[in-house]
């Protein structure tokens, strides 16, 4: 059984297929162009070289950085006289920022750990490096070199500690001498004790004589005291009146304090109510802020970013 096709179904079929293929081709080309652009194929790059006796840790595609900013990547690695010739592909725009005398070194972004990069250390020259120039390379320090370094710095310190310990040992002999001298002094203590008792007896005699003199002085003092006795009653009356006034003021103060306490007690529920009302109002407002169509009207105006102020480029932003 044959199915009847509508007339004109396949007219200009070749043209339609060609248009479809053309669009597909154009899309594929656009995609490839985008990939090429993202990969940096359209960015002009200039080569720089260095030769290292050991290329361990250096890989093709490793980023090349200047002042921590990526300016290119490691290109080709070739075996050459005296080691490996490493070609760095630098974005031509940044080549002018690498002065003559610059050198490359193997570094990591966060000290000992982190991504390995080739760091360009700028030189003192005023002219930029030429395209294809060969620069010096400072290889990374191995763990054995780091340990050697540490040993070199630590050995003098250890020697000093050793010397100090031996001095302490020698001072042990002096300590023995001091202890024996101390023992001799302790043996002489009873004699010292006897001398101290004699001194005390003499002091007692002197005190008795002093007492006799003091009796005379006391008689004079008694006479002065009688004078004071006469003046005291008048002074006492005045003092009594003052104390009564202070007492009355204290009673008044106490009453005022009690009244204030009562007022505060009465106001407490009112304060509690106010606090609850304020909290509820806050909740209602927050809910309203989240609800359409009010939400758009309550958007935060600030994005919460602290000011980026060029004044701080002067190094004066430190002390605020």
């Amino acid at each position: 059984m044959s199915v009847a096709l509508p007339p004109g179904r396949f007219t200009r079929l070749v043209l339609k297929v060609n248009v479809f293929l053309l669009i597909a081709l154009a899309l594929a080309a656009a995609f490839m162009a985008m990939v090429a652009y993202k990969q940096g194929w359209f960015v002009r790059q200039s080569p720089l070289h260095f030769v290292t006796p050991n290329a361990l840790g250096i890989n093709k595609g490793m980023p090349v950085k200047l002042h921590g900013f990526t300016i290119g990547q490691v290109g080709e690695l070739k075996l050459a006289e005296g080691g490996v010739d490493v070609q760095l592909s630098i974005v031509s725009e940044y080549l002018r920022r690498i002065p003559q005398g610059s050198y490359a070194r193997h570094a990591r972004e966060a000290g000992v750990i982190g991504t390995a990069v080739i760091d360009i250390v700028p030189g003192e020259g005023t002219l930029p490096l030429a395209e294809g120039a060969v620069i010096r390379f400072e290889p990374p320090r191995g763990i054995s070199e780091i340990i050697d370094d540490f040993r070199r710095q630590a050995v003098p310190a250890f020697n000093e500690v050793k010397q100090a310990m031996s001095q302490l040992g020698r001072s042990g002999e002096d300590l023995t001498a001091i202890l024996s001298a101390l023992r001799r002094e302790v043996e002489q203590l009873p004699a010292t004790h006897r001398a101290a008792r004699n001194l005390l007896q003499e002091a007692t005699k002197a005190t008795a004589e002093l007492n006799q003199q003091a009796a005379t002085t006391l008689a004079a003092t008694a006479r002065v005291a009688q004078g004071v006795d006469r003046a005291l009653p008048a002074l006492s009356e005045k003092l009594n009146a003052s104390i009564q006034s202070i007492d009355a003021a204290a009673v008044q103060l106490k009453k005022t304090g009690e009244e204030a306490q009562a007022t505060l007690r009465d106001a407490r529920p009112l304060l509690d109510h106010s606090e609850t009302a304020a909290r509820e109002a806050g909740d209602v407002l927050s809910a309203a802020k989240r609800t359409w169509p009010l939400s758009d009207s309550f958007k935060e105006t600030s994005e919460g970013l602290l000011p980026i102020d060029s004044f701080e480029a002067q190094g004066k932003g430190r002390v605020r």
Binding site: L66, H67, E109, S295, S310, G317, R318
Partner: protein
Amino acid sequence: MSRWLAAWLIALTAACSAPATDRGSPAQGRLSEAEARAAALARSGDYAGAARFYGEALRIATSLENADAIAANAINLSVVEQWLGRDAEARAALAAVLDEPRAGLSERRKTQAELRRAILEAASGNLGAAEVWAGEAERRCASSCEYAAAILNVRAQVALDSGRNAEAARLAGAALERARGDSGRAEAANALRTAGRARIAAGDAGAALGPLRQALEIDRALGDPRKILADLTELARAADAAGDAQAARSYKERGLAVSRAINDGRSAAETEVLLRR
């Protein structure tokens, strides 16, 4: 009747198209709370506390893969670390934006981060690096970008520190032109101050007094004591170089009073040394 039905349908469609209330996950809540606490501490002057909470917010934002929040908190952290005088930490905070390419990071955030890095490098005296980062920020920032004036001011500052006085004056002039509106007043004052400093450096101290006085006026209106002190110090230098000893002494005394008031002992000592001369 059909009109009412149509109106009701439109209202319903609009309500449905409005974004749903973002209640947020617990982590999102913690992020907002850490950001709010950091901002409050920064406002109250507790920069060490602010740095701690911005660090926490950055950690939470990283766990949520929220690129915008990562960038904002990294930039804020770098600002407070610089205020604390910890440049290495400030640089490390920015690495979260500059060294790790992230999807969904806006050009604006990248510009902010590059500008911050340029400011940091210039403040540390790494003029080459500052120039590179300012150049990157400028390349990303279109002519009407809100940070155009700040970028030009950083470039002017770098040029001035490198001894290129004419270029510094030109860049400061361009920054002044771009710093428009209320938000640009701080950068306008910075541009005027740099222009004044460039003129002093070029030996034209008399011409420096005008822009420096304008900068002082703006900074007093903005109420930033550090900038007022910087303006008074530069004005004293300019008046001194122009031969007006009385005006120079007056500016120095005002600077000393400001310096003592903001408890900047070092600066007060420097001003006192200047006054004794």
